[in-house]
């Protein structure tokens, strides 16, 4: 039992020199921004060991390669080889899938695993702020993965074309590409964070995200392939605009709804994109359904993510 004397003695011996903090204390929005920035950095393994940087760095370099190859090809006199709106669909699908499957768990599963959440919720934020910050951070990280290669592609192209009108043409082509990239980032971050937040085991989380994307993608592609031969990939001549020359059967359009990647391609085509991607047919007026399904998918994922932390806050 402590007595007054023992306390006084302890005070003399251990003068720890505790200092009060009277500096600024920022509020909720600042904390959310700080957590989003922290999440953004951890999506690239920054502030972690070298091992954590392997996947993001390889993925980033892999996505940059087409831009580099294109710049080289253009310097040799050929025309631009890579499109801004689709980039290289097969490569981008695969690399982004790997990126979100490995890095989304880095953002959410680690915290679940280490049970650090009660510490966050004992801070001056609201429960929904945590998933919000994670989403902002991861969307930004996906944006970097998607947009930086596009900007590199643009840089390489602009360096090799001559005349203001050619540069303007490149710029005009780039802008929709950047917007499509934003759509990708918003979508992939929402779905992957939601799937990853299901489990605290990083391996399982990666598996869940990868299987979620891969399975739906395979399913959509099989359905699209089954439907396509009848039409022989005649999605209309390029540049034909909103009305496809050949009517696409509804079943094929529906097949594209089954995977986030084909959904993104469908929405892109509906918004006026002309380059084919992932075998998705031009949806025509059905494109509105693509857009609605995509919005619903993102909304549901975000709702699920928020709900996940409403429950978790008490544990």
């Amino acid at each position: 039992m402590p007595t007054e004397t023992s306390r006084a003695a302890a005070g003399v011996i251990h003068d720890l020199g505790y200092r009060r903090y009277d500096g600024p204390r920022f509020g909720r929005s600042w904390i959310v921004a700080a957590l989003a920035w922290h999440s953004f950095r951890s999506a690239f393994g920054l502030g972690r060991g070298a091992k954590a940087k392997i996947v993001p760095v390889i993925a980033f370099v892999a996505l940059l390669l087409p831009a580099i190859v294109n710049a080289f090809a253009m310097s040799q006199g050929s025309a631009r080889q890579v499109d801004y709106d689709t980039y290289v669909p097969a490569l981008r699908d695969l690399i982004m899938l790997v990126f979100v499957a490995v890095q989304a768990p880095e953002l959410v599963s680690r915290d679940l695993r280490s049970r650090v959440l009660p510490l966050y919720f004992s801070r001056p934020i609201k429960p929904a702020d945590y998933p919000l910050a994670k989403y902002l951070g991861f969307t930004s990280a996906c944006l970097v993965m998607l947009e930086v290669p596009l900007l590199a592609l643009y840089g390489g192209a602009v360096a090799n074309v001559h005349g203001g009108s050619a540069v303007w043409a490149e710029t005009k082509a780039l802008i929709p590409g950047l917007l499509i990239g934003l759509l990708w980032a918003v979508t992939l971050a929402a779905i992957s964070l939601f799937l990853a937040s299901m489990t605290g085991r990083r391996g399982f989380a990666t598996g869940t995200v990868a299987i979620g994307f891969l399975l739906t993608y395979t399913l959509a592609e099989i359905l699209l392939q089954v439907e396509s031969p009848a039409l022989g990939h005649s999605a209309g001549p390029p540049g034909s605009g909103a009305a496809p020359a050949v009517a696409v059967p509804l079943a094929e359009k529906v097949a594209g709804l089954f995977s986030p990647f084909t959904l993104l391609q469908g929405v892109r085509l509906w918004l006026g994109g002309t380059n084919p991607g992932d075998n998705v047919p031009k949806p025509g007026a059905f494109g509105a359904v693509y857009a609605l399904v995509l919005i619903a998918l993102v909304a549901l994922s975000l709702y699920g993510l928020a709900a996940r932390y409403r429950k978790a806050r008490l544990s």
């Binding site: 251990h14 720890l16 009060r20 500096g23 600024p24 509020g27 904390i31 957590l35 801070r123 806050r313």
Partner: protein, 324 residues
Amino acid sequence: MNPSPPAERPGAVIEATALTKVYPGGVTALAGLTVAFAPGVTGLIGANGAGKSTLIKILLGLLEPTQGMAKVLGYDCVKEGMSIRQFVGYMPEHDCLPTDISATEFVTHMARMSGLPKTAARERAAEALRHVGLHEERYRQIGTYSTGMKQRVKLAQALAGDPRLLLLDEPTNGLDPAGRNAMLELIERIGAEFGIPIVVASHLLGEIERICDRLVAIEAGHLLRADTMDSFTRASQTLLIEVEEGTAALAQELARRGVRAQPYQRALLVPIAGMSTYDAVRDSVAALGLPLSRLEQRRHQVEEIFRDDAQPGQYTQLEAADAY
């Protein structure tokens, strides 16, 4: 948002009034708890499931009470949870640390999450880690730490934001005796020298009683007792008498002399009313000619009552002891 710290007030740091929490499943965690916590180190004592964790969550504004109200540092728990969490440091009971970053990085990050600017967060983190006794090892990954060191990191993250109140939930959990003593000393120092009011929730009274100025004991969501440590121990001064045989006869003989004895394991417990109690015990044993094997003054009978394996019913012993 840059709220100024709450004014230092001499009154209670926590005031709960008729606080009731009934969980959706129908489980009553708190049943009309009215209690005030003064500055200093206060032990919040209760068995597992007594309502300690529920109370802490309500105080942090993370859980809404079904009825009643609570104020922490003058802020309302339901309406001003954000302000409370800005100025309260919380150390959870369970493991809550990532393993693959260093203590410095982690505590700095948590200080930023308390709203501190980057530089201040780094400085405060370094100081907090020094205060809890982590030095060079603070640059090592937390995964390589011993349980004692991890507990210190948990305390440091609560301390880093310069809290005006610390809520520590079972801070000695999982520690060996040496680690416990070190942790308790640390808490005592933080309370006495840093002048931070502390609430230490524990189910092991014997452990935390030596560092507490006051105790608040709860059972099944009710307030059992709230008092200074001194009056707690004074009320619980008892004499343990063990005889080789004839325990029942001794109890009868003591009762005849006006001393109420309670059976305790194989022995008897007698509340000490004064020197006359010792006389009565001596005379009873002598009169019956019993082989006395143990006679022990126990200052900490409360400790027995709050033991880990205590049955809920045993708490009534404390009330019985108080009634004497």
